[in-house]
Point group: C2
């Protein structure tokens, strides 16, 4: 279970409050994508416990440089660096379908910046779609506490338009038009598989 | 790309040779599951490049305790610990199917010890099978350089027998009887999806 701190948020990967330098950069890391990630992790746990789906967040990729073995018991990593993820953060299985997605928050009230993605993540999603995976992005507009599920197919259109000199972000209106809104619930906190059901229905209807 | 060392093996997660203490414990860690993991990673890359499948190894789970920010550039993890994985090492998508597996090597010439698995990994595989995932274990007998793909259904039988006071390992003969042998190739080095094709065929035939 994640340790809760006075502001109601826990630090990622169990980083301890008192060991993090309180400079601007560490706070940036501490807050990055936190709340949405917690909501999704809690929802995945609820889905898993009820036998609805098996979806997990992948561990944060870390480049390990130095490991000490002070005793027989435990290895201590003394030097390591955060690595850029080569895939997306979440994957798993639901209703026999391979599920793959990324989750992102934005402070913006007007648009979602496409720089939130790396090209290899987009390519990864494209490959998964080719193999008939159900792929999407969960986007949270923090200012409105609104969460949307944007199908990968729509994301690719905005991404490709940007590559061809188009807009560097997806406007809030375009998100509303192309995404499914996810309303917060009690358990699961963020019932995003309801929106996935609609994606699956569309796919099954278009293949008939 | 993994850095190659004189013995032809690279260290996991890019641990540098000269920074690892050369005591017995670090060697144990350095050699654990190395070659099989490299073979599978290279095979997954080959499969991915050819558009055959999208299967990746999950990052090693690490509990981060202390992070320093010496400059604007990069965060340095100064204290972290290896965590027990809550799922399996590999998952992805192939032919529209969710794929989930673990890979293990054994030095034994007579049997494969079941203590290589944790109960939550078995439970994870069971849940994935329930949701119609294709689940298995890749086992390498290092002494014979023989690699087998054991379907999860067979693994569960041996696991459950052990829980009821049965054998603590799967004999080499039982592996030969219940698993599909994977012969080494050029590229992919370990063409394990050939064996997965046979599993899929069995599943599709039994559902008709």
């Amino acid at each position: 279970m994640a340790i809760q701190y006075p502001n109601g948020k826990s630090y990622p990967n169990g980083i301890q409050n008192n060991k993090i330098k309180k400079d601007k950069q560490s706070m940036t890391f501490g807050n990055r994508g936190m709340t949405l990630e917690e909501d999704i992790n809690a929802s995945n746990e609820a889905y898993n416990l009820r036998g609805v789906a098996v979806i997990h967040k992948k561990p944060t990729p870390v480049q390990i440089v130095q490991v000490d073995y002070p005793s027989r018991s435990a290895a201590v990593i003394k030097e390591a660096y955060f690595k850029q993820a080569s895939t997306t953060d979440y994957n798993g299985i639901y209703r026999g379908y391979y599920i793959d997605f990324e989750a992102k928050e934005t402070q913006s009230k007007t648009s979602f910046p496409l720089k939130n993605f790396h090209e290899h993540q987009i390519n990864h999603l494209r490959n998964c779609v080719t193999h008939k995976g159900i792929c999407f992005v969960i986007i949270r507009f923090t200012a409105f506490n609104q969460v949307f599920l944007l199908p990968a197919s729509a994301l690719f259109q905005f991404w490709d338009a940007q590559q061809n000199g188009g807009k560097k972000s997806i406007s809030y209106q375009d998100i509303q038009k192309n995404a499914l809104e996810i309303s917060y619930g009690f358990s699961p906190r963020l019932p995003y598989l309801d929106a996935v059901d609609k994606l699956i229905l569309q796919i099954e209807e278009s293949s008939n």
